[in-house]
Symmetry: C2
Subunit: 319 residues, 2 copies
């Protein structure tokens, strides 16, 4: 019997359950609408049913080695999801404890960016790396740091909040209540804010995006425009990547990773974001770190959330 | 037979060899002038002789479990001291390899700030902590980060350069060739620069330090003046601690330590530096980290360099 891991990717809208083998092949996958579980208990029972469906589909060929869960604000130390603003259930959710009441398998919870880092280490481009970081560029900016082959979780499980280091003390308002956090610049929402500031600042530069309202602009439209030669969209990427690179130079001085992986919507812009980030990082790096560190797109293209969650079963706390 | 560790603290001026038991008692200690060893080989032979002297002094009561070496620019991964500007020998020095040629014991090298962190974990206030950091405030600013009970060394052994994260892109010139590094503000040299800028900026505020030249001012004089109520000296500490606290808020978001220890000359100013640092850190922290993290003076008061080096034998790579 071969081994497989269950990976559960909990999101604000939908939750995906997948069964993944040790090579990163997704053998079975099914999703549910997250709010279908009116209460946490009901949601976990729905997930448990999905797992049973999956294992019976796979017949007796695979043994489930464990269940990994990636969730916004998932805390690997406490086993709780803590105050996740975009989930239907509020407060502190003792996910691991409750799930243990209905499942026999080993259960590991982590926040989604930390799961992404372990996914990259187990199945992706960070295979064999002991020191690297993964940055998820979604609506916000998440991050997972790996040092000595283990996640940096901090004493309370809350480490890895790169989105909330300060770029500019008097800068943009952040959802966290402070000003100038990195994610107010470097994220899908951040580049959209930048583009609109540029539209206002350079009224004479022609751009197709002038016909789109703030409400209607989706970040992939900025990527598309930049690829098509739109000057302002290109400037927005230069600015965003430049700020990211500057902060990465600070991060490198602290953790000296061998590579930095970018994942998520904005990362799909590829060189549009990576090239200015790399250039700005190199300019700002301390000499001993120059020309050593790669910024790479994640190599987990399909089901990154499920792969990351499943990878927790193999890779969390591996030394 | 009880176990003890040799700790060697290599400095630009003098090098101290100590034999330390598992409780942190220094059983034997002797120093030499570092430049007495004209070449690295000669220096290591002198150290080897000191170790033999020490072990024969201790008779057969103790068995030496290993030799730890703390040195500026000591790289734990390569075992080399790499381009240390203040040592008599230049370039890459294969200390561990050469020392292995003349000693039978296990040998571990680390940079001095990393050794300080392990010293704090094994013998000091960080005993039992898995996640913390130690900041050494000497001429410059060094740091050692511990996560999951292990040093963050990075892929190349060069991690922990908190002194070279950027506070102000257009700020003070740093010895590293860049501008605005944290250590140009928060270090013995940094606070001296701040004091002289304040002397120039507020010519009407009375201060005893107006009679001292830049060349003659030693940082402990600023501490003494601040303790005696000198307004400008107190402002210099407020400014220095404030900047440190702001950067610590960023660091906490990344590594979430349970405590931050300050060590070295400037740290001896105690609350003069800790109090504004703590205040500024709390103001700038992301909400989930507030009121959880202590900034503490190191509890290694005597021989911190030797204790840190010796601690490498017990604490390096302990999981």
């Amino acid at each position: 019997m071969k081994k497989a891991a269950v990976g559960i990717d909990i999101g604000g809208t939908s939750t995906i359950m997948g069964i993944v083998d040790t090579d990163g092949n997704c053998l079975y996958k099914k999703d549910i609408v997250t709010s279908e579980g009116k209460e946490l208990n009901e949601f976990l029972r729905l997930l448990s049913d999905l797992i049973d469906e999956g294992t019976s589909f796979l017949n007796e060929e695979y043994r489930i080695a464990g269940i990994g869960i990636g969730a916004p604000n998932g805390n690997s130390k406490s086993g709780n999801i803590e105050f996740a603003p975009n989930l239907p259930w509020k407060g502190v959710l003792p996910v691991v404890e409750k799930f243990r009441g209905i499942r026999q398998e080993r259960i590991i919870l982590a926040n989604d960016a930390n799961a992404a880092a372990i996914g990259e280490m187990v199945y992706g481009g960070a295979k064999g790396m002991g020191d690297f970081l993964v940055i998820t560029l979604g609506t916000g900016l998440g991050s997972g740091f790996v040092s000595n082959g283990r996640l940096i979780t901090g004493h309370d499980g809350l480490a890895g909040e790169l989105g909330h280091v300060t770029v500019n003390r008097n800068g943009r308002m952040c959802g966290c209540g402070r000003r100038g956090c990195l994610e107010t610049y470097v994220s899908a929402k951040g580049i959209k804010r930048t583009l609109f500031k540029l539209l206002g600042h350079f009224p004479d530069i022609q751009s197709d995006l002038r016909s789109v309202s703030f409400e209607n602009l989706e970040p992939p439209m900025i990527t598309k425009a930049a690829e098509d030669g739109d000057k302002l969209a290109q400037m927005a990427f230069e600015y965003t990547g430049g700020l990211l690179g500057r902060k990465l130079a600070d991060i490198v001085a602290i953790t000296s990773p061998s590579a930095i992986f970018l994942m998520g919507g904005l990362a799909n812009a590829g060189d549009l974001i990576i090239s200015p980030a790399k250039k700005s990082m190199e300019i700002n790096l301390l000499k001993v770190f120059k020309n050593k560190i790669e910024i790479l797109p994640s190599s987990l293209k399909e089901n990154p959330g499920v792969l990351g969650a499943a990878a927790l079963v193999w890779g969390y706390n591996s030394c």
